[in-house]
Every structure is written in structure tokens, then in C-alpha cells.
């Protein structure tokens, strides 16, 4: 294992999850420094190729955060994201990266403590899996 601390990349919806993460200072909840949060206009805006390239560029795990299906700010964005993540999990298995490196969670701005749990759980899951098998391999 080249890097014992896994790098987890988060694609976050600005209308639910990022509001909680943004308030983490005021609400005094902290999350692991291994997590890099990237705000996207909507979780449904995250394309399959965006997720694949994140893995290709060295992420050990990727987490997509969106609104609850029936509360999506853009109506069906989180549903689109859920379908894409479901498809990509099976593709990651075929690639050899493993489906557990990609997860999606849905929450609302009123569930602050839950975000902390989700982020911690993701870091623990990726730490258990170890570094991405792409790391340490020769460049193609």
C-alpha cells in the first residue's frame, strides 16, 4: 500500500449536502481531511465519465451526495444520479476496481449529524479496501 490514507472524492449537491458541510465550522462537526468535496449544480449533473475519470486520476473512493429522491431541487436529478451510480458500480466490478469504491447517499439540510456519519463510514470503507489498485501501476 503506497498511501495508507485513502483519498475520497465527493461530488456534492449544493442544495442539500453542501449546505451541511459548509456549516460544519459553525455546527462544530468535523470530517476527515482525506475527503475532498466538489460542489456540482446537481447530483444529476455528474456524468458517468466524470466519475470514471476521478478514479483514473487517483481517487481511492468516490461518493455522490444528492437530495432525497422526492425532494430533489431539480425534480429528478438525484434519481438520474442514482441510476448512473448503480450502472457504474457494476462496471467498476468488471474493471477490477470493485463496486464498493463508489457510493451514493441522499440527505437533506436538516440531517447534519447524518452527513458526518456518511463521510466517516465512507472513509472507513475505503480504508478497509486499501489504495486504488491503479496506484503504483505503470502508466499506459
Amino acid at each position: 500500500m503506497n498511501n495508507p490514507e485513502p483519498q475520497v472524492f465527493v461530488f456534492s449537491c449544493p442544495w442539500c449536502c453542501y449546505q451541511i458541510a459548509d456549516l460544519s465550522g459553525a455546527t462544530q462537526f468535523d470530517y476527515s481531511p482525506n475527503i475532498k468535496i466538489n460542489v456540482v449544480p446537481c447530483s444529476g449533473k455528474v456524468e458517468i465519465i466524470d466519475l470514471l475519470r476521478t478514479f483514473e486520476n487517483g481517487a481511492d473512493g468516490v461518493l455522490v451526495l444528492g437530495c432525497f429522491e422526492d425532494k430533489c431541487h431539480h425534480q429528478n436529478g438525484s434519481l438520474i444520479a442514482k441510476r448512473r451510480v448503480g450502472y457504474l458500480k457494476s462496471l467498476l466490478k468488471d474493471i477490477g476496481l470493485g463496486e464498493e469504491r463508489l457510493e451514493m447517499s441522499m440527505l437533506s439540510p436538516s440531517t447534519g449529524p447524518k452527513l458526518e456519519e456518511i463521510l466517516d463510514s465512507m472513509v472507513k470503507q475505503i480504508r478497509k479496501l486499501g489504495s486504488s489498485p491503479l496506484k503504483g501501476k505503470s502508466k499506459t
Partner: protein
């Protein structure tokens, strides 16, 4: 539209195992609409292939390009320089596109990255169903615009058969009986009497059963259909 489906990654890797530089070539028409071989799918497959090979410790270069149509030679001319950089072309087009590449560039190795499934329509985004068998002798004027050759599992011209149960086909409760659809539609149009005439056996020589087909346009070609 020609309905296509991408082959599993494992099969694609097996086919391309002997090649180091692979050009994944997408097609901007039917394969794009089917979410199987457009620019987006080319990028997804290229990324997947790069990662899978890297995990296995193999050094491969995967190039990406998409043309407007692979089934016409004039659209293939723009890749004549690009193919020089690749050991093989992995075509994400129907079988016509794959063969067009093989004919246009005789020295080029080409692999099919997708399976050509049928002629169909988009019922809703992501769902396609078969509508035409390309038999070369259309009979839907007799059947209310519904093709009994394609949509009836037995291809009956005088249906329905005894396997039609509550409007569904005996092969699956999910599949509507084509002849039930025909009867319902002709009844609604007041043309049910069309079915009183028994249809004679169909001339299948115009279908693929008569061998590979060629059409010469009577306007631009020398004569009509061969």
C-alpha cells in the same frame, strides 16, 4: 433505426488482448441514440479499458474518436490518418459500420465493440423494441400498420394462433399478441373485414432468405431492385 447494444467489457478485452494501440471509433447516428456507441460511450469505454488493463499491468494506449456515420465511406475518410496510429479499430457501430471500415481500409484490423440487435423504435428513453424484420415486402397495409412478421413470434399472416391468451403471446405474458393488436386496431378503424381474406404464403425471396440483397435506385442507378 438500427438498435445496438455494447458488448460486455470482458469480451471486448478478450478480443483486443493482442493489440497495444486501440482506436475506439464511435458512430454519431443509431449507436449514439442507443447509448451504445456515441461520443459519451466511447469516452466511458476508453476510460474503463485503460483502467482495467492498467490494473492487470498491461501497457496499452486507447485512443478515442467519433464520426458522424460509419456506414458511409465518405464519413470514414476523416479517420484515414488516425488509423495509422492504431494497431486496431474497435468500432462502436452496427455491423454495417464495422464492415464499411474493413472494406474502406483493407489493411486495417477492425473489431466489433457492439452487437447489432434489430430494427426498432424508442418506446421511451433507454427502451427499444423491434418493429421491422426488413423482409423486403411490406404487408402492413393489410394489418392496420402493425407488422405480423416482426411482432408475432410465429410470423403468422393469418392469425391469431391458439397461443394468444388475454391479448398476450404464449411466449411471454409481457409480450402483446400482435394479432390481438391488429384486430383491435382494425376494429377501431372499422376495417375488420380486411381479415376475411386469407393471405397466401409470403414470397420470402425478397428477405435475407434469398441471400444478401442489393438495391439500385431507379432514379440514380441503372435499374430497379435486383
Amino acid at each position: 433505426m438500427i438498435i445496438v447494444k455494447q458488448k460486455p467489457l470482458e469480451e471486448i478485452r478478450k478480443m483486443s488482448a493482442d493489440y497495444r494501440k486501440i482506436l475506439i471509433l464511435g458512430c454519431g447516428t443509431c449507436a449514439t441514440v442507443c447509448f451504445a456507441g456515441g461520443e459519451r460511450e466511447v469516452a466511458i469505454l476508453a476510460s474503463s479499458l485503460r483502467m482495467a488493463e492498467k490494473i492487470d499491468g498491461k501497457k496499452k494506449t486507447v485512443l478515442e474518436y467519433t464520426v458522424k456515420r460509419q456506414c458511409d465511406w465518405e464519413f470514414l475518410d476523416e479517420i484515414s490518418e488516425k488509423i495509422k496510429d492504431a494497431d486496431v479499430i474497435l468500432s462502436l457501430s452496427c455491423g454495417v459500420g464495422v464492415q464499411a471500415i474493413a472494406e474502406r481500409f483493407p489493411s486495417c484490423r477492425v473489431l466489433p465493440g457492439i452487437n447489432t440487435c434489430f430494427l426498432g423504435l424508442t418506446e421511451e428513453p433507454g427502451i427499444w423494441s423491434e418493429r421491422c424484420d426488413a423482409c423486403g415486402n411490406c404487408v402492413v397495409y393489410e394489418t392496420g400498420g402493425i407488422c405480423p412478421i416482426t411482432r408475432c413470434a410465429k410470423g403468422l399472416l393469418n392469425g391469431p394462433c391458439g397461443g394468444s391468451v388475454e391479448g398476450k403471446c404464449e411466449i411471454s405474458p409481457e409480450i402483446p399478441c400482435a394479432w390481438q393488436l391488429i384486430i383491435d386496431r382494425l376494429t377501431a378503424m372499422g376495417q375488420l373485414d380486411k381479415l376475411e381474406e386469407i393471405q397466401p404464403p409470403k414470397d420470402w425471396s425478397t428477405s435475407h432468405s434469398g441471400g444478401p440483397r442489393t438495391i439500385v435506385s431507379s432514379i440514380q442507378g441503372e435499374s430497379g431492385e435486383k
